[in-house]
Subunit: 537 residues, 2 copies
């Protein structure tokens, strides 16, 4: 990170803070005043920027992150910065004419302007948007004309791996408002989506032959990213709150390299702490603190994959009870969120993978990560020679919507609206289960976050069990009967990366993200019928 | 590739073609009639598609590509297809309700419509676009409403690694029209930019410790992508036409593993055949055929990196001569292009990296590759667990512009326009060199393609040479004096990956892509002044 820190605030860089009053935490309402103090927003073609330009003074009152060189892979350690980008340091002379870089001229970018129609808060529905939506305009030379901090001339050209400064500012502020990281030198960088960030993380921290820790049941694609790299999975037993810290401690404390093809003790934990996929489990604050302690004890890097963080829902109330009223303001909303690993990470051992996929749109292929400067820098070096940066058109779209139009306040309104929508969806599904599934053999907890409902089936009561059929055979039989009955659920087995442990239980995953309430009801009633037929009830 | 081939043309799948008349090659004008014969365009969320849906019958009259398993890395060989995507095969029953996948509902995508203003051919300039440009509209439900084959509902959701079918169709047709590959089972897939495709290619074909072949001087970032993976470079000597096939043969025939830390003989050639970066060299058709022969002899994979293919310019005419008139029609334009490696690749050993960066915009982060089905399939498996797919917003923008608005005809008009613009820019630079540089010590060939002009300096005439200064010291001295004089050129040394060979010559690279003709003239006159001072002329 060679970018300067152009803020005119005395506290930046102060190390002895004993005599200095502690600055205020950043709030949604505090953003405009804070932005006025910022000396400068980089707006040139591929202009360098860093989160340090946008973090508020309170960040610098905290201690620095630890160093984690010893966790880096050979690949990550080998990365140097770009030769050609190094030439940029000669460009400070304004009279200099550069025939150096191979950037195309914006006159050859055949897009003169872009307009997007988006919701005007609080009218967030598609109907309201069609009627009262706002049209946001981006021209090619808005920056030059003073109309914006970001425009098509910049978005359509090459950019920095960190992303465009105006969008990096937004996610940096958002991170500070929501998580208020516990150490000073945290940084953000945009990513070309969270899956890509996870692929990069594996290459930055792991070597072929390594084991990583994951929840016993986890996102199958995350495993499939690791497997071809020669990275294997040790699954951690879970309960309704997700992974069990004692079980993780046990695995690590008793790690036997010989029994694991000579693999060293795992040093990376991949976890989906909120609305876990596939189980829907959400780790409580207490659980997270216990997991973090074990991570400290065994010196783990925690990869916190958090696409569902803002799909935390209202407390579940069954059929006839009164629903819990929505959060009445932003503070209440933020307070209602379970604290992230990032927020409790005093060491800088957490890499938080952030995504817009579940809260704005997967098709933007824009996410971001938050980690210590040292670790983010290694990601940036990797991105520079691979994805380069997320799509400029996506970045411009997000900037126009999130920053220029909604601002942090409108974005939180949107997230509260989403929370209430997902609460209603979740309730439809759980109500349908209460109504249609045979309680003798089907058990569940209403999920507190995410898109997924995890249904346990008492497979030992299946007639096939007495007849000696395997877990896998019975699971498949139920799955295929459900398909015949006209409903597709995901098999628990699909999400189990570590086949060294036995399958005591049987699960099916249902999502409430996509189908309508009516379809969900029909689907679950079909599944109930399947179970009754299969189990002879 | 499990996608079916839904074309109602008898020739598909025919193996004995002796009694069948050879079908016509695809031309720009033939596209509309051919499209009418296509049975089906996949338009659903994350719908699968493949180039086989869009290739015309002539493709299937050609022999199949060879198999290249033996070139794949352990990582590439280990990839399997996605567990969760496998569940899609149950979705054929239209009455089935899926609670399986975790796709968000499009009602939560807060972009209702997008409008972009783009040039209407032949008014390609920014001025003309502002005055007479066309506004292209994309709504959320255009597909459902019959208004388009691609819309925001699809673009904003998850997608396939191959890209959206309508854009995949365009690049497949474009590939067939321009290159007409010499074997039958070639495929395209979109990529999240060409740099990312190159990073993926290295991981697909190379192991740590491998050497790859590159031009003696090459794109520094391409080397920096390889180095952290433990992949080293053997540089191939070049002349004005780029790499020398005899020299390549020599390196391969005399490969000494012991002298190369035990590395096996290189099996991958990375080349920029057209408008090479940094030298500006373009390999003639004859040169390419010779290189291809050596690649066959030594069983090489050729990675053909071709961002500058359509920056092939008009023949250079010095100061006072009459410029060569532009191509008078599309056929003449296509015929004027030097044939690609892809077009002569009978074996399927070429991986062509295509980019929109130099011809549309780098900020889209959308490119594509062309290779045999076997190789493209390995790329797709890699993308699925990394980038997933290029930005949907970028893809939609490109589709609207290239397919719905311009069509192949308008796109070729745009490329001809670009050719003429770059010809003018190149001419400005070369004219300025003719006027301002001291011919006693500065030599060059006018580049036939690309963005770069490569100027050789007779460094042994520098007073420092007699005084015993090194090549590097003299190059740096000239570079820094030029910066002092107010012009930045790139040092040849920055582009030399293989430091095992000595530097006989000295070069500086100047680009004509970005600065105006006036600025180019000033810049080169400053460089002339620098050289005169430095060399005491």
């Amino acid at each position: 990170m060679t970018a300067p820190v152009p803020v005119d605030v005395d506290l930046v860089g102060v190390t002895d803070t004993s005599s200095v009053p502690v600055p205020d935490p950043l709030t949604v309402n505090g953003v405009p005043a804070w932005r006025k103090k910022l000396a400068h927003m980089p707006t040139g073609v591929a202009a360098a920027s860093s989160s340090d330009m946008f973090k508020t003074p309170i960040c610098y009152t905290k201690p620095k992150a630890k160093r984690f060189e010893h966790h880096l892979s050979l690949e990550a350690k080998s990365r140097t910065s770009s030769t050609l980008k190094g030439a940029a340091r000669y460009l400070s002379n304004p009279d200099l004419i550069s025939l150096g870089g191979g950037l195309p001229s914006s006159e050859y970018f055949p897009i003169e302007s872009m307009d997007i129609k988006v919701p005007t808060p609080p009218g967030f529905s598609p109907e309201a948007t069609r009627e009262s939506g706002t049209v946001l305009h981006a021209g090619k030379h808005d920056i030059r004309e003073g109309a914006s901090l970001y425009d098509l001339e910049i978005a359509l050209n090459y950019g920095q791996a960190t992303g465009a400064a105006p969008l990096l500012r937004f996610v940096t502020e958002h991170t500070e408002i929501i998580h208020s990281p516990a150490y000073s030198d945290w940084h953000c960088t945009l990513t070309a989506g969270s899956t890509y960030a996870w692929d990069s993380a594996l290459r930055i921290f792991c070597e072929r032959g390594d084991y990583i820790l994951m929840e016993e049941y986890t996102f199958a694609s995350a495993v499939e990213t690791a497997t071809p790299l020669g990275v294997k999975v040790a699954g951690i037993p879970m309960d309704e709150q997700g992974l069990l810290p004692e079980a993780m401690d046990d695995i690590l404390s008793n790690w036997d390299s010989n029994a694991r093809e000579g693999a060293r003790k795992p040093h990376v934990l991949y976890t989906i702490p909120t609305g876990q996929n596939p189980t829907g489990a959400t780790q409580s604050a207490e659980r997270r603190r216990a997991v973090y302690k074990v991570a400290q004890k065994h010196d783990l890097i925690i990869i916190e994959d958090e696409p569902y963080y803002f799909l935390q829902m209202q407390p579940y109330t069954s059929g006839d009870s009164t629903p819990v009223p929505p959060p009445s303001n932003h503070e209440e909303f933020i307070k209602s969120l379970v604290p992230s690993f990032l927020s409790m990470d005093v060491d800088g051992r957490v890499v938080r993978l952030e995504s817009f996929s579940k809260v704005i749109s997967p098709g933007t292929r824009v996410g971001w990560i938050v980690a210590s400067e040292q670790i983010v820098e290694r990601f940036i070096r990797a991105f520079e020679v691979s994805s380069q940066n997320p799509s400029g058109i996506s970045q411009l779209t997000l900037y126009k919507l999130l920053d220029e139009h909604w601002g942090h306040s409108g974005y939180l309104d949107w997230l509260i609206n989403l929370r209430m929508s997902y609460t209603a969806r979740r309730d439809s599904l759980v109500h349908a289960c209460e109504q249609h599934l045979p309680r003798e053999i089907a058990h569940w907890e209403a999920p507190a976050a995410g898109m997924f409902h995890w249904i346990e089936i008492d497979w030992r009561k299946h007639p096939g069990y007495a007849a000696g059929k395997t877990h896998a055979a019975i699971e498949e039989e139920i799955f295929l009967s459900a398909v015949d009955e006209g409903v597709l659920l995901s098999r628990g087995n699909w999400f189990k990366p570590d086949h060294s442990t036995s399958q005591e239980k049987m699960f099916f995953r249902a999502t409430f993200a996509a189908a309508t309430a009516e379809k969900i009801d029909v689907a679950i009633s079909r599944f109930g019928q399947t179970l009754r037929t299969q189990f002879g009830l």
